[in-house]
C-alpha cells in the first residue's frame, strides 16, 4: 500500500485515460507519468490527441460540452476528474500557456497583478511583478516601461509575459500548447532557455508540432500517433535523448526521421 503521506514521485500521472468527443474516441488508454521538475514533450502528427491530453491535465476540456473522459488523471494522488475537485483551483496549480500569446489589453504590470489578485494574492504586488518578470526573463527588457500596454510588446515578449502571468499565481505545473508556433526562431530559443530555467522549480509539459523543439528543450518525450480507428494512442515514452537517437518503435523512428506523419 502506497504511503499516502508521501508525495507522489510524479507531478501528474494518467492511468488508462480515454477522452471522447461525443461518440468519437479522441484518445485511447493513455498511461503516462510526468517527472517532477522536468520538461516532458508530447509530439505526434496532427489529430493524434496530444493537445486533448494536455487540456485534460487542468480540465480545460470541461469547456467542450461534448467532451468526457474515463480513466484517471492523478494529481497529488487524487483523480482530478472527480466531481469534488474544484477546477478553478486546479487551474491555478496547473497553469497553461497557449499557442498565440494572449495578454490582456492592459499594462504589463496589470497583466501580472490582475490574475494574481483575482486568485487571492494579498502580498506586495510590486514585488510579485518584479519576481515573476525576472523568472520569465523579461524584467530587464520591460522594467522601465511597466505601465506600457502589453500589446506593444513583441510576440516573444508577449509570450514571456504570459508565462510570467502564469507564474504569478504560483502553479506547480505549467502546460504549454505550442507556445512558440507564433514566434520567430530566436524568440523560440529564448523561450526554450526559459523553460530550462523554470524546470528547476516547476514541472513543464509541452505539446509541440516541432519535434526539433521537443528534442532541444525536453528531458522526456512521449510520441503519440493515430490508431486505425483515428483515436490517438501513445506509441513510446522515454528520455528525449533516447527517443531521438534510439527509438524502440518503428513508428517513432518513421516519424522522427520524417518518413511518416
Amino acid at each position: 500500500m502506497e504511503d499516502m503521506n508521501q508525495p507522489s514521485k510524479y507531478a501528474i500521472e494518467t492511468r488508462g485515460l480515454n477522452i471522447f468527443y461525443g461518440d468519437f474516441q479522441a484518445v485511447k488508454d493513455i498511461s503516462l507519468q510526468f517527472e517532477r521538475n522536468r520538461i516532458t514533450a508530447i509530439i505526434g502528427p496532427s489529430g493524434c490527441g496530444k493537445s486533448t491530453v494536455l487540456r485534460a491535465f487542468n480540465r480545460m476540456n470541461d469547456f467542450v460540452p461534448s467532451a468526457h473522459a474515463t480513466g484517471e488523471v492523478l494529481y497529488h494522488d487524487q483523480n482530478i476528474n472527480h466531481p469534488s475537485v474544484d477546477a478553478v483551483q486546479l487551474r491555478r496549480l496547473i497553469g497553461m500557456v497557449f499557442q498565440k500569446p494572449n495578454p490582456f489589453p492592459k499594462s504589463i504590470y496589470d497583466n501580472i497583478a490582475w490574475g494574481a489578485k483575482m486568485n487571492g494574492f494579498r502580498g506586495n504586488t510590486d514585488d510579485l511583478v518584479e519576481e515573476t518578470l525576472r523568472q520569465a526573463a523579461l524584467w530587464d527588457e520591460v522594467k522601465d516601461n511597466l505601465k506600457k500596454s502589453a500589446l506593444a510588446l513583441s510576440g516573444g515578449q508577449q509570450q514571456r509575459l504570459c508565462i510570467a502571468r502564469a507564474l504569478a499565481v504560483r502553479p506547480e505545473i505549467i502546460l504549454m500548447d505550442e507556445p512558440c508556433s507564433a514566434l520567430d526562431p530566436i524568440a523560440t530559443l529564448k523561450i526554450e532557455d526559459l523553460m530550462r530555467e523554470l524546470s528547476q522549480n516547476y514541472t513543464i509539459i509541452i505539446v509541440t508540432h516541432n519535434m526539433q523543439q521537443a528534442a532541444r528543450a525536453s528531458d522526456y518525450t512521449a510520441f503519440f500517433t493515430m490508431d486505425t480507428d483515428r483515436s490517438g494512442i501513445m506509441v513510446e515514452y522515454n528520455e528525449t535523448s533516447l527517443i531521438f537517437t534510439k527509438p524502440k518503435d518503428q513508428r517513432t523512428e518513421d516519424y522522427i526521421t520524417g518518413r511518416f506523419g
Binding site: 532557455d193 528534442a215 532541444r216 528543450a217 528525449t240 531521438f244 537517437t245
Partner: protein, 226 residues
C-alpha cells in the same frame, strides 16, 4: 544569448575530451616508462586500462550523437561536434599505441635488450607535449597555435631515424637478441604515428575556426617518395 543548453552540453563534451586526452598522455608516459623499469605489473595495468579509454571513447561518441540529434547544431557548432567525433577517435587510437608499447614490455619480460632509450624517451616526451598543446589549441579553437604544432613532427622523425639505425645496428651486432630488439621497432613506430595523429587534431582545430579541411603534413616524405 540563447542556446544555453547546447553551450553547456558542448562544454561538457569538451571537458570529457580533455580528460580522455590526459588519460592517453598518462598511458603513453607509463608505457614508455616500463620499457626501462620492466615493471611488468605496471605494464599489465597500462595494457588493461586501455579498456577504460575505449569505454570513455564510446561514451563521448554517444554524447556527441545525442547532441547532434537533439540540439540541431549549425555552422561552427556543427563543425565543432564533427571535429570532436574525429578527435575522439584519434585519441582512442593513440591509447592503442600506448597499449602496444606496454605489450612490448610484457613480451620482453626481463630479457636483457639494448634499446635506444634516449631517443624513445625523447620521442615520447615530444609526442605527449604536442598532444597536450594540440588539445589546448583545439578546445580554445586557436588555429594559429594549431598550425604551428605539426611542424614539430620533423624532430620526431629525426629521432625515429636515429633510433631506427641504432636498432638495426643492434640487430647486426647481437643477432641472438633480434627477437626482442625487433620489438623496439614497434615502439618507435607507435610514437611516430602518435605524433602524426596529433597533426590530425590540429587539422580539426583549423576546420572549426575556418571551415577549411586540409592536410597539414601533406608534404611529408611518404608523399614525396611515391
Amino acid at each position: 544569448m540563447p542556446r544555453n543548453t547546447l553551450n553547456r552540453q558542448l562544454n561538457m563534451v569538451q571537458d570529457e575530451i580533455l580528460i580522455l586526452g590526459s588519460m592517453v598522455e598518462q598511458a603513453t608516459r607509463a608505457a614508455v616508462g616500463t620499457l626501462k623499469s620492466r615493471d611488468l605489473r605496471e605494464a599489465k595495468l597500462v595494457f588493461e586500462q586501455d579498456q577504460i579509454i575505449n569505454e570513455k571513447r564510446f561514451a563521448i561518441e554517444n554524447a556527441i550523437l545525442i547532441l547532434m540529434a537533439t540540439q540541431q547544431p549549425m555552422a561552427r557548432d556543427l563543425r565543432t561536434l564533427a571535429a570532436l567525433l574525429e578527435v575522439n577517435t584519434e585519441l582512442e587510437r593513440m591509447g592503442d599505441y600506448a597499449k602496444g608499447i606496454a605489450k612490448v614490455t610484457l613480451r620482453m619480460g626481463n630479457a636483457e635488450v639494448n634499446l635506444p632509450m634516449v631517443e624513445i624517451n625523447q620521442m615520447a616526451e615530444l609526442a605527449v607535449g604536442m598532444l597536450h598543446r594540440a588539445l589546448s589549441a583545439f578546445i580554445e579553437e586557436n588555429a594559429n597555435l594549431a598550425v604551428a604544432i605539426p611542424k614539430e613532427d620533423d624532430r620526431i622523425d629525426e629521432l625515429f631515424n636515429t633510433a631506427y639505425s641504432k636498432i638495426l645496428h643492434e640487430m647486426v651486432a647481437n643477432p641472438s637478441t633480434i627477437d626482442n630488439v625487433n620489438l623496439a621497432l614497434w615502439v618507435i613506430h607507435n610514437l611516430e604515428r602518435m605524433a602524426d595523429r596529433v597533426s590530425n587534431i590540429c587539422e580539426r582545430t583549423v576546420f572549426i575556426a575556418t571551415g577549411e579541411l586540409f592536410e597539414m603534413d601533406g608534404m611529408d616524405e611518404e608523399d614525396l617518395n611515391v
